[in-house]
Amino acid sequence: MNRVIVRKLAANVARLRVQHEFFCTDAAARVSGSNRSHEHEEKHDFSNNIQQYDIAIVGGGMVGMALACSLASMPLTKHLKVAIIDSNPALGSKVCFKKEDPPDPRVSTVTPATISLFKDVGAWQYIERHRHAYFDKMQVWDYTGLGYTSYNARDINKEILGCVVENKVLHGSLLSCIENKDFQKTIYPSRLTSMTLHPRSSPMGMDSTSSRTPSSSLRHLAKLELTDGNSLYAKLVVGADGGKSRVRELAGFKTTGWNYSQNAVICTVEHTDGNQCAWQRFLPAGPIALLPMGDNFSNIVWTMNPKESMDRKSMSEDDFVKDVNNALDYGYGPRPKSSLLGNEDMFSWLRGYVTLSANECFEVPPKVVKLASERMVFPLSLMHANDYASKHVVLIGDAAHTVHPLAGQGVNLGFGDAFALSRVIAEGIAVGTDIGEVSLLKKYEAERKLANITMMAILDGFQKAYSVDFGPLNILRAAALHGAHYISPLKRSIISYASGEQRLPLFS
């Protein structure tokens, strides 16, 4: 079952079969000893050490692993020979999570759509064995005290709005899921340095550092060279190598985007009691989010300017906790009252649509009593690749787009990409299409570009609206928040879009 080969040396000789026993809770390390592993290994040694794959996934982060997992779970794609290239040790070594450890500050809010995709491929069961925190309520307000809104899963007839999971748990679950599938994958613990996409167009013999010119069937493949001297060939190269994607660069895809000149400070914090709600408060410099993490823990994602972020990273723990509580409650301005400008009648024309949660009062988020992890700082930027696909290459996840972490959509868009791509590949295989063919890959691009650009525009709009501090604008945006609280049909579409249901508020 577990057929994992980790390539260590350039010589293609020394090869380690690593048994991924990702979670301590899993049964004690199994010994594979399966003959199939052997067969598989032998196949790799064919003709002159040329490593040939159907798909090479560059970047085994959350999104790259989601693609591998999805390919492994579908009848039409599980036979594919897949190489995963990433020097991240999490892919090769045995990692153990203890439930008692405080949660890692790097977390993701996964949407119900992502959860159902994980369930489809059989990965969610591994998440459920570890720390994860569902939430069914979300309160958004701002420092002016002029408005607030709370979202409730009930408003859209759902059980939950989302689930907060540590990135390492998401990543590890996907790994475990693949381990337990009958899937031929080879992990190269290395990094991509160069890529030759159309070797045929260069005069023959050009790329023959080897003694032999590649046989004609290799000339149809993309050639990848790695930092450890290994090289391999693939019909399709998937760039899942994050925001600074080397694949994107080597394939020559242009990007559009900008830096926000904002940083996010992230950390884990502790309360005296449990937290079941996602909180977000807009401050003059950017939003602060408090996400439930299970037990008495929460995660903080706090956006601010770069200088402030450095100060807040280095200040004493006590001062930082004080700052956080300030930012989450009375700092910068008063708590909102439940009515806007003292006159609810402004929305009287919408009365008919008042939802349940509109009747709920403003709540004060739970106090933070302790910092429970290191503080980490990340710069924020918005970037979108103008193309996701060309012959033999395709981009997924942050390699194709990075967004403001505001609504916790980043990795959800990436998961959407990964699952869409594997479905398109399966559809292509069903009718005998070459999986590197551009017409096939463009189907994936067309499908995902619309979804991603829409979400990016919404998030960018939000971030713009909240990053300026002009008096009158504050009232307007408070009105918008307040309005959103009451205007149910619109609010419903906002939540359902933010929770990953693909229907656009504009088009529905």
């Binding site: 039409l76 004609s216 070459d434 017409s439």
Partner: protein
């Protein structure tokens, strides 16, 4: 009989050297018109006929185990062929309509053949173990996916150039390099007593001299209870307007008489001549083109392009 079909006057192979034909591809009819040409656009007009009968047979050496013959070719020749192959295989080139249509017609073939032969539709290679002949394979646009789906494929075409292009392109991928390509005709294969589980001829029947005889050859190539899949263009006013009037008379891209509109078959006629050839049509579907998405889909509208699946039934007849 074979020679009759191969003689110049009978082989209605149409060449359009003109890419202007696709300069306004917004209409489905244009796209259909684009189905007609099957030489590369760089070759000079008009009729480039297949080699003489003897030649075509000798050329089957390009088939199985082609690597030795390839290596005997000069580098320069390889490069030249490769550039031509790009045109047959250029999904944005003159053969775009065939490329765009391919997934749709393959979906039809997949579903009908899987059902008929009891193959697992969830398999990545459902046609494993099936011998399929692709008659009029052109550059191999259909043969290659069939091979990827697991079939043992023989592709035949009367035009030697097409076969060379097909061979060259198939050799780029290990899976498709197993395809056997021969410059020959269905009739010759019959004479050679070749048999296949499935006989496929897409967009070919409208170009042959005698469709009824052609269908008999197809039937003769199928094993008892084997399958046949045929697609063609309907004899509708639309096709008349585009393929005949526009291309041959108004624009003079094609020599007059290249297309004989009357030789297009209606679905009823096709069913009838297949019936006479002992092939019972079991399923038929139309292709409709959506100009907005640029995609084809299967539908029950068979007024323009249609595809039929039938089974060989001589064994029941002969009882």
């Amino acid at each position: 009989m074979a020679s009759k079909l191969l003689s110049h006057s009978h082989l209605r192979v149409i060449y359009s050297s003109n890419t202007r034909i696709c300069s306004n591809p917004t209409r489905a009819t244009r796209a259909l018109l684009n189905l007609r040409p099957f030489s590369d656009s760089s070759s000079p007009p008009p009729l480039e006929m297949p080699q003489s009968h003897n030649n075509t047979i000798n050329d089957t050496g390009m088939g199985r185990g082609s690597t030795p013959s390839l290596s005997s070719l000069k580098e320069l020749e390889l490069v030249k062929f490769a550039s031509i192959a790009e045109t047959w295989w250029d999904s944005e080139g003159p053969f775009k309509p065939l490329h765009v249509m391919n997934p749709t017609r393959l979906a039809f073939i997949r579903s009908t053949l899987c059902r008929h032969f009891g193959k697992d539709p969830n398999s990545a290679r459902p046609f494993e173990g099936l011998k399929i002949v692709d008659v009029g394979c052109g550059g191999g646009i259909l043969s290659e996916p069939l091979a990827r789906m697991g079939a043992t494929v023989t592709g035949v075409d009367a035009v030697e150039k097409n076969i060379k292009i097909a061979r060259l392109h198939a050799d780029l991928d290990q899976v498709t390099s197993t395809i056997e390509y021969c410059c020959t005709t269905a009739e010759t294969l019959v004479e050679e007593e070749r048999k296949f589980d499935a006989v496929i001829a897409l967009e070919v029947i409208e170009h042959v001299a005698d469709p009824a005889e052609f269908c008999k050859s197809l039937a003769a190539l199928a094993v008892p209870d084997g399958a046949a899949v045929i697609s063609t263009i309907n004899r509708s006013m639309k096709s008349y307007a585009t393929a005949i009037v526009a291309a041959e008379y108004l624009l003079r891209w094609l020599p007059r008489g290249t297309h004989e509109w009357s030789s297009f078959l209606t679905p009823e006629e096709l069913v009838l001549i297949l019936q006479r050839a002992n092939i019972s049509v079991r399923e038929m579907a139309g292709f409709v083109y959506n100009p907005l998405t640029g995609r084809w889909s299967l539908s029950d509208d068979i007024s323009v392009n249609f595809i039929a699946f039938g089974t060989e039934n001589s064994k029941y007849e002969n009882k």
